[in-house]
Amino acid sequence: MNCLQVQDMLPAYALGALDAAERDAVESHVASCSTCIPLARDYLQAVASLSHAAQEVNPPAHLRARILQQVAVTPQLAPIADLPAPRQPQAPRLGRPWSLSLWAATAAACISLVVAAALLSAVSDLRSQVKALRDDNQRVADMLDQQRELSYTLAIPGMETMVLKSVQTTSTARGMMMVNKDRTWGVLVSQGLKQQPAMGYQVWLIRDGQRVSGGVFTVDESGYGMLSLKFPQPLTQFTAIGVTIEPISGSPGPTGAQVFSAPIQQS
């Protein structure tokens, strides 16, 4: 199973909507794929939060002892790094004809090495190309998802629109936020923002000089970005909204340059 197939299945995997064989295949791939690990982690974290809906209940008193009894006779599995590596298929041994002279054998070996190196290089190039194509495919899929979400948002009756002004007058960047009638959630869309390596744009909801994070978004090559916001309180409880450049993981308070700001209408 390749990355693209696995990534397509990750939401269902996180939600437990795969059958056991599919789940094993996804887990087996994710265990050793640095590309898929962070995606799987994000989905699993989101889903694990849903378990908070359940009330904590004291298990039966005898269960602890029973578990520890079973543990006492159950060996631990070795870490993945200690597991024996898969055996590499060995090339069949060819008997060297007694009549072949040593120089001919050496020349043949050299040619084989050159051919093998060329093949390895070609395979490496192909892998890079395939990875680039997968990344492109994922970007297109993400954009499509965003467009669908935006279409859905725009179709909701009573949505209001706020314009976010660029702080720098010379900038062509624009921002817009659509907010639902109750002002409890919204969707922010940006255009013309500069793509920042390892950095994102963090939204701040401002009230009495205090800033509450509304989330972080990144932009594509064209400067387009989108973020769904769930406001901790109705937006009318805040006086302004701002956007600053921050690390992609977000900051507890604004640290970078401000790009957008807008007052919040109270009516």
Binding site: L15, Y43, A48, A54, L68, T74, Q76, L229
Partner: protein, 191 residues
Amino acid sequence: MTHAALTEEQLVAMLQQGDSGALGELYDRRGKAVFGFALHLLRDPAKAEEVTQEVFVNVWQKARTYDPSKGGFNTWLMTMVHHRAIDELRRSQRQHASLELAGQETLVRDNTSADSPADSAERAQDAQAVRTALETLPAEQRSVVTLAYYQGLSQSEIAARLQQPLGTVKTRMRLALQKLRSALAPYQEST
């Protein structure tokens, strides 16, 4: 130093060294959440007990394969509980009697955890946040999450039930999780 004084990260590290006492302490801390969640999904105390036992034995068995860089311990633990409970749910073919939306009362009300009022308030707040996050989802996204997560249907079964293409179900799941991730960010484990 007793196990009770250790952080969860330290306990997991000791578990990886083969210390079964660390498992006992993790059970003391997480057992109520695990059993409560299994009960919430299965609505059967005997099966919830079975799942809780299997999960903690699995935690012991697979402790050395757990890599904190791939996700927090609680995520790992609760994912295991969910997967095991869903397997059980499917096996016993009790989906018709399964769950309603998250946050509803569990069956065993007289056996609930007796923690401090502050802990109870915090849990109630968490549960409310999950309900709110689910309610905020568009109905078609909420339904795929509910059918998958709380009722144990596979994505193909959901597509058949909703009479939608499998691709549509996958897209709805992806969009729903993106929104839940954002809405429930304060309740997620940092890694």
